[in-house]
Amino acid sequence: MSGARRENRGGRGDGPPGAGEPADRRLPDRAVAHLRAVADLPDLTGTGYALAGEIARGGMGTVYRARDLELDREVALKVVGPPDASGDLSSRLRLEARLLARLEHPNLVPVHDAGTLPDGRVFYVMKLVRGMRLDAWRREGPGRTATLRLFQKICEAVAFAHAQGVVHRDLKPENVMVGAFGEALVMDWGVAKVLGSAGAAAGAAARAGAAVVGGSDDAPIAGALPRPGGAAAGAAPSPSPGRTSERASPPSPERTGPTTAPIPGTEPGAVIGTRGYMAPEQARGETERVDGRADIYALGAILHFLLHGRPPGAAPGDASPSPSAPGVPRALDAIRDCAMADDPGARYPTALELSADVDRFLDGLPVAAHRENLLERTGRLLSRHRALVALVLAYLLMRVALIFLRGE
């Protein structure tokens, strides 16, 4: 090195002097900016897709708007973003694609395609969701009933995933899209955890990069997964009022001691999730203890956000993020508090139980999470039977008026 440097001392270029070094080729700022951008674009040569723009950039990957040239439609294309020497992010993206491909549900984004780009990056293609994020939707001020109905759709999607043995682990308003037709779509399953022995197989397959088509591990992930409560894999059961006694019951054996397949990079001790929406056990990095009830906690936090318009308290595990705000019924805050209980065993055992309690509130029925006093019960009954109460009042008023007129 030193010899070469000395020989070329005083060279005219400002590059490192050396044989064959070109003269100064200082890239202008605009060229630097352009190269930084285009060098990161996914190379879609030969894939049948054409790039149309960037939608979002996250920790694991970047989502682009692309056009499916064969079917002539717009799609969303997710590509591993940062360089990934260990292959962990690629494995996560593969597993996310596989999970979504198996979680066929109206409130989950369908995956159309997956593979590896010519530049070596893993990608998958999904439906392009036209709508807005839940946090933006909330800012538009939807009514309470519409908000709670939407929340129930989120619960149903999560319940379905749980029935397949999949825990999302990063539920938050930013990961829920509200579609153009008012549908809720739960996104970003990149840090999901698969419970059960099939999950271990799925994780291993993803790490090994085994092919989906014709691969020996091609069996559906859900096939051998425990189904908490015996729920059918293909369809999430509808909310079932009247099962409130199970709310505080201990979790099922499948849930207390699952074998787990952490997605690469999410090994025990790793803290996965978002502050404010993370269950306490999740925030403590107790990966082995994280199961569907961690998602229940996050759903409670989302409910808080929807009710109050802001995230719960910053401290993870804060079961009482804030006092009840004026105008928010105590029953709804009680539902939130139950979902966000510090103790996983004190939370709703399933997302459907949570949804069912919200349903009871909407129907004017007592909710399982809240023991109401006489005044509240009276108020609820009056509110529930508003038309009847109005008729009775009108009748009584008329009678009083008649008595008064006769008396005169």
Binding site: G10, G15, R26, R30, G48, V80, R94, G115, A211
Partner: protein
């Protein structure tokens, strides 16, 4: 799933991206770690790599921050890397304490301050009064401020760091472009590089050059132009990542630097 692709990273695609699920090689040795090797030859090789990657940013920093002429800046840059080899500057780098880039700039500032003090002392014949460091952008060659750098661009430690970072990115991309040029020439892909040069370097997103115009200019179909561009960009990305792999010490530092260089600035 379309059967011409698979979801696995092992066999699918491949292209020129090399091994690794993320599309870049993971086998390159870190020159930063090599600079701390017990083996003198390994240390020298590593320093050669580091000096190639850092030469331009260091040279430009010397000119801009210390106001040196081009010739003096060349001397100081060369002196810095020679001294680094002789004194094993980089052996003191601890990856746990920060990025290598920051460490190198700190070493450079110390080296330049010493060089300046020594030169001042010689001028004064032993020196009595304290001579302050040259003001940012000032010095013995006001015309050599690295191309119209505002006076306050290097006023603070943060702005110096930021400026060095920008020049480091520029230097890295320049190096990658030169390597890409050499590779294309070697592999008979001169037209591909020419397309890249015209579209991505000269037009650089200005929108004055269309694919059609470039295709007519090069005498190839439009699809060939887009294929050439895709290939050149893919190779550029590979070269950048390979270089980054060599000049970073850990996986975390590599990721951080790669995120910085490719795409948007970090939030």
């Amino acid at each position: 799933m379309r059967n011409h692709r698979d979801i696995g990273g092992g066999a699918g695609g491949g292209g020129g991206a090399g091994a690794g699920g993320g599309g870049f090689p993971s086998t390159r040795r870190s020159a930063v770690l090599g600079a701390r090797s017990e083996d003198a030859a390994e240390r020298e090789r590593s320093l050669e790599t580091l000096s190639a990657a850092y030469w331009k940013p260091v040279l430009r920093y010397v000119r801009a921050r210390w106001g040196k002429s081009h010739e003096d800046a060349q001397d100081l840059t060369q002196g810095f890397f020679l001294r680094a080899l002789e004194k094993d500057f980089f052996a003191g780098y601890d990856p746990a304490k920060g990025r290598f880039r920051t460490f190198l700039r700190t070493c450079l500032d110390a080296y330049l301050a010493n060089a300046h003090d020594a030169a001042s002392a010689r001028k004064r014949g032993g020196g009595i009064a304290h001579v302050p460091l040259i003001a940012p952008g000032g010095g013995d060659d006001p015309d050599a401020r690295g191309g119209g750098i505002p006076e306050d661009a290097l006023a603070s430690s943060e702005s110096q760091e930021r400026w060095f970072e920008v020049e480091w990115i520029r230097g890295l991309l320049e190096l990658a472009v030169e390597r890409l040029r050499a590779e294309c020439e070697e592999k008979g892909r001169a037209t591909a590089f020419r397309a890249f040069e015209r579209y991505d370097l000269e037009d650089a997103g200005e929108g004055r050059l269309s694919y059609e115009t470039l295709a007519a200019e090069l005498g190839v179909p439009v699809t060939t132009v887009t294929n050439h561009l895709a290939l050149a960009r893919r190779e550029l990305r590979r070269i950048v990542l390979e270089t980054l792999r060599e000049i970073t010490a850990s996986e975390e530092e590599f990721r951080l630097e790669a995120r910085l260089v490719l795409g948007r600035d970090p939030d």
